[in-house]
């Protein structure tokens, strides 16, 4: 098979995928240009739009890192969604019980641990029984969804609320803002104080960013450094590329598998924790609109370097946020699901080609 032929096939694929998107836009009853403009406006058109995009991006940063860590170790963590939910619920309960900044800090730790623990069945079954982690993590996702749903509708439900949700957290237990803009009367930039639900309820909050995104970026950078420079990172990468050769090279692939999945689950759990502490302020039924599934796309879009997670999560966040504005002009939000799915295919196809050129 010649390179040119492969190239043509790739172009054919892209043309096909693009055609689907165009048909979709035409079918939506809106001018594609109008839809595009709306999408852009919705994602970047105002401080509020930016805030929404960043809010959508934040959990994807951590869930994307989660999937990425597992991928480096040669494992598919389809379970980021479940780990994120479990982490979020654990954090919410801890922070509600302990209250204040202590609740926040301990809550983060508990959320990370909960996410990590939730991967243990998958890790142990993969390492000691050879059962595929994709299947186990899918099952664990469904269990997490059902269990958190049952808990928040039952024993953990806020007594004064109709909806299945936990009570709201105090401001003191929430993540402080780095930057806040109130635009009701002129512009007021504030630093350091947490997002005030009161202001938000009044609709005066224009832009807010807390520690979560910088933390995620730092964590991603640190992971990349560790992966490339440390002996353990070398071993994890070796296992991801060739588990058999890794075993012959003295690497304990069983323990590494369990540890890598736990680390992956921890990152997703952290995402859930920060989602509770920094954005939602509570846990409720239907907490995640599928961050854990989008995360797989983020990790694939990221390519081979962990730093790629940041722009990938940003693109996904912007698309998700923009889709909400499309709904206003009667374009169903499902359109972004299709686009994201096709985007994953397009990127994965390009990467297959890269890998082939190596040999």
């Amino acid at each position: 098979m010649t390179k040119a032929f492969v190239g043509w096939r790739l172009i054919a694929l892209y043309a096909g995928l693009a055609l689907i998107v165009v048909l979709l836009l035409l079918g939506s009853g809106v001018q594609p240009a109008t839809a595009g403009a709306r999408l852009w406006e919705g994602a970047f058109g105002s401080p509020q739009a930016w805030r929404g995009t960043l809010r959508q991006m934040m959990p994807l940063l951590f869930a994307g890192l989660s999937v990425f860590i597992a991928l480096r170790a040669g494992l598919f963590n389809i379970g980021a969604e479940g780990q994120l939910l479990i982490g979020a619920l654990a954090t919410a309960m801890t922070a509600l019980t302990l209250q204040g900044p202590v609740g926040m800090v301990v809550g983060i730790v508990v959320g990370v641990l909960a996410g990590a623990l939730w991967t243990l069945p998958a890790g142990l079954i993969k390492a000691y029984r050879g059962g595929h982690e994709v299947i186990t993590t899918i099952m664990l996702n469904n269990i997490a969804l059902l269990v958190t749903g049952a808990l928040v509708a039952g024993p953990l439900k806020a007594p004064d609320k109709q909806m299945p949700t936990t009570p709201m957290l105090d401001t003191a237990a929430r993540l402080p803002s780095l930057l806040r803009l109130e635009s009701a009367n002129g512009t007021t930039w504030t630093f350091g104080s947490p997002e005030d639900p009161g202001i938000r309820a009044l609709g005066r909050l224009a832009f807010e960013m807390n520690l979560a995104i910088p933390l995620g970026v730092i964590l991603i950078g640190a992971f990349g450094w560790w992966l490339g420079r440390s002996v353990r990172g070398y071993e994890v990468g070796a296992m991801g590329e060739n588990p058999v050769a890794a075993r012959f090279a003295g690497i304990d692939t069983r323990r590494t598998t369990v540890a890598a999945l736990a680390a992956s689950g921890g990152a997703a759990g952290l995402g859930g924790a920060l989602l509770v502490l920094g954005q939602e302020g509570r846990f409720f039924a239907g907490f995640s609109p599928g961050y854990g599934f989008d995360a797989l796309g983020v990790a694939i879009l990221a390519g081979s370097s962990p730093l790629g997670i940041v722009p990938a999560a940003f693109v996904f966040g912007a698309l998700n946020k923009g889709a909400l504005s499309l709904q206003v002009i009667d374009v169903p939000k499902g359109i972004t699901g299709v686009i994201l799915g096709l985007l994953i295919v397009a990127f994965a196809a390009a990467r297959v080609r890269e890998a082939r050129n190596d040999d």
Binding site: R9, G27, L140, I143, V338, G341, V345, A348
Partner: protein, 284 residues
């Protein structure tokens, strides 16, 4: 006892039939070597397309046909991605699921005629049930007694060696995935027929439960169908016991819904005997 026969059994069977069909769909693709986590998406697309076609044409057969065509298209894309473009099977499956969730939402929101709601004409359900119960046996016979069956098992075990013997894995897998499209298409049509109308995400994880049944049945058609039937019964139990106290405690319905997933994990932990996937799964 009569309640059991009159109410529980039909409920269980109507809940199990789509699972059995989808599990057979999974059997055909996984046995030919294509990892299939996209059963869910294929059923969802089929359900959505069937609902739209049936309610707009007023013709049940058209609904069934269009539903199956939708699942076939998804399966065709699955084949194209995994076999022609050699994408990772899991990535392809996830992408297809994303497309299905988004696409069905889009089509449904955009093209459903609100005035015609609830008017989905239905084929007689016994047709589907007969299919769900005869298909596993038919597949068993096909797998062990026919040329395409033998080639499917061979390619699923070792595509490279099969190619040496003059069997083209690409073609065998296309056939397998067409079979998957037919089965999941029927399953999706059945789900929407049961419900009477399409709602977002209405397959509700049934594709994953079907996959679980396939694993529990160790990638063999009859045991996989039996596992799917069992899972259908658990779901029926959940409806039966909803709100009633059992052993002094009121169990939330989620408890019953969890059972298939938990059983699968327990099975994969090797506590229910050893389960081995086809050796050629995911190999080019």
């Amino acid at each position: 006892m009569t309640d059991f026969v009159r109410i529980f059994l039909p409920t269980a069977v109507s809940l199990a039939a789509p699972l059995m069909l989808a599990a057979m769909g999974g059997y055909l693709s996984e046995r030919s070597g294509v990892i299939n986590i996209a059963l869910e998406g294929k059923m969802l697309m089929a359900a959505c397309a069937a609902a739209l076609a049936a309610s707009s044409s007023g013709n049940a057969a058209a609904g069934v046909a269009i539903g199956i065509v939708a699942a076939l298209l998804m399966s065709g894309a699955h084949w194209l991605f995994t076999q022609v473009y050699r994408l990772d099977h899991i990535v392809s499956g996830m992408a297809l699921n994303l497309v299905a969730v988004g696409g069905s939402n889009f089509l449904n929101k955009r093209f459903t005629d609100l005035s015609a709601m609830g008017q989905i004409p239905q084929l007689p359900l016994p047709v589907y049930y007969a299919l769900a119960f005869t298909l596993p046996v038919a597949l068993l016979v096909i797998a062990t007694r026919t040329r395409p069956g033998l080639r499917m098992l061979a390619v699923g075990s070792d595509p490279a060696k099969s190619r040496q013997m003059g069997v083209e894995p690409l073609r065998v897998r296309l056939l397998g995935l067409v079979g998957t499209g037919l089965c999941t298409g029927l399953a999706g049509v059945l789900i929407v027929s049961n419900a009477g109308r399409f709602t977002d995400g209405m397959t509700g994880g049934k594709g994953y439960i079907a996959l679980a049944a396939l694993i529990l049945g160790r990638w063999r058609p009859v045991p996989a169908a039996a596992a799917a039937l069992l899972f259908g019964m658990f779901e029926a139990l959940q409806i039966q016991f909803q709100g009633t106290a059992l052993l002094g405690a009121r169990l939330p319905s989620e408890f019953w819904l969890c059972i298939p997933y938990v059983v699968t994990i327990v099975a994969m932990a090797g506590l229910l005997g050893h389960s081995r996937a086809p050796a050629g799964l995911g190999k080019p």
